[in-house]
């Protein structure tokens, strides 16, 4: 037996001993806790960020070839630009095109024209936040006019999709899912509905939250 092997065995033994000791200490602690503390420990403090059902798909190459919708037998699709080439310097996002489009425009990575014939035309930006109170325990929705008017015209949403009056627009997440109200853009082209906290961003006051909380029996 060489010195190296001996050393390894000794180190592993020490680690085993330490971990065993640590476990016993932990067990003793657990036994001394009262019933109330146990319940408190089991209560979820924040919304659980982890869910093993939400699989993250990591796709690094974004190419036209083999994307499932382009016909590569003709010559046309081969001439098109690949998304990964266009997205090279863009600020990253976790879903959708994996590009943060608002940030890209704010930082000047993209400079989309606001008029077909006038390259210097600037958008009429309105800075007004609308807060929508939401049923249930989700945070309230804050709608920022600023980011929307940077790329859209008033007539795109008002009055066909949203009546410009407080309380006049009844809507639900189900309507968004089938492509109505916010779902006209979000979930199709604008950032997807899976980014809950991008819209549901204003925390409710504690009193309101207390009502919706599930009480421990």
């Amino acid at each position: 037996m060489s010195v190296k092997q001996l050393k390894l065995i000794i180190i592993s033994l020490v680690i085993c001993f330490l971990s065993y000791n640590g476990n016993s200490v932990h067990n003793a602690e657990a036994a001394s806790t009262t019933e109330e503390e146990k319940i408190n420990r089991a209560k979820p403090k924040e919304i659980n960020p982890f869910n093993r059902l939400h699989k993250k798909t990591k796709i690094k190459s974004k190419k036209i070839e083999g994307d499932g919708i382009h016909d590569f037998s003709g010559s046309g699709a081969k001439l098109l630009q690949n998304p990964d080439e266009a997205f090279l310097d863009m600020p990253k996002a976790k879903s959708g095109n994996s590009v943060d489009w608002v940030k890209a425009q704010d930082t000047g990575k993209i400079k989309p024209r606001n008029d077909l014939y006038d390259p210097d035309a600037e958008a009429l930006v309105m800075e007004l936040n609308i807060v929508r109170e939401v049923k249930g325990s989700m945070p309230d929705v804050v709608f920022p006019h600023k980011q929307h008017t940077q790329v859209l015209d008033c007539t795109n949403c008002h009055p066909a999709i949203f009546i410009p009056q407080k309380g006049a627009n009844q809507m639900s997440m189900a309507m968004n899912l089938i492509g109505q109200k916010c779902g006209v853009c979000h979930g199709k082209v604008a950032f997807p509905l899976s980014r809950c906290t991008s819209c549901h961003s204003k925390k409710k006051p504690q009193k309101e939250l207390e009502k919706t909380k599930w009480k421990w029996p």
């Binding site: 016909d71 998304p83 590009v99 993209i110 024209r113 077909l116 795109n156 853009c185």
Partner: protein
């Protein structure tokens, strides 16, 4: 030796998997109102490419495109007359209508829809369910 071989194999396989896997870009619109019936491949409109160059307002307010896939009922004659896509795709600002297969580049047998939209995901679930029930 054997462990090293396995590690190399594992690395090669993962690299291959990552590099091969590719899917349609979010917001790609497949338009097949009249294309396939007229013997052409469906049109694929990439939103990502156009939003780098223009704001939403240019097409959806000024050019009058509806916010719904297939709702515009675009025909080639409209484009040649300078409506819809024809406002830019006239050979001056963007490629002209003689480059058929640059726009008509989609696989056949696809209906009009938006790729990876929440509605499309719901419909796919429904189709899968029906298939399972049929089996």
């Amino acid at each position: 030796m054997r462990i090293k071989l396995f590690i190399y194999l594992y690395l090669v396989v993962t690299i291959l998997l990552v590099s091969i896997e590719s899917r349609a870009e979010y917001g790609d619109v497949v338009i097949n109102n009249y294309s396939e019936a007229s013997g052409m491949n469906p049109v694929i409109f990439p939103h990502w490419f156009h939003r780098i160059r223009f704001t939403c307002k240019v097409c959806h307010a000024d050019l009058g495109f509806e916010f719904k896939a297939g709702a515009n009922k675009i025909k080639m004659i409209d484009i040649m007359e300078g409506q819809f896509c024809g406002e830019c795709h006239n050979g001056e600002l963007a490629w002209g209508t003689e480059n058929c297969d640059l726009c008509h580049s989609g696989n056949k047998k696809m209906g009009t829809h938006i790729e990876r939209s929440s509605l499309q995901k719901l419909l796919d679930l429904k189709i899968d369910e029906r298939k399972r029930q049929a089996e």
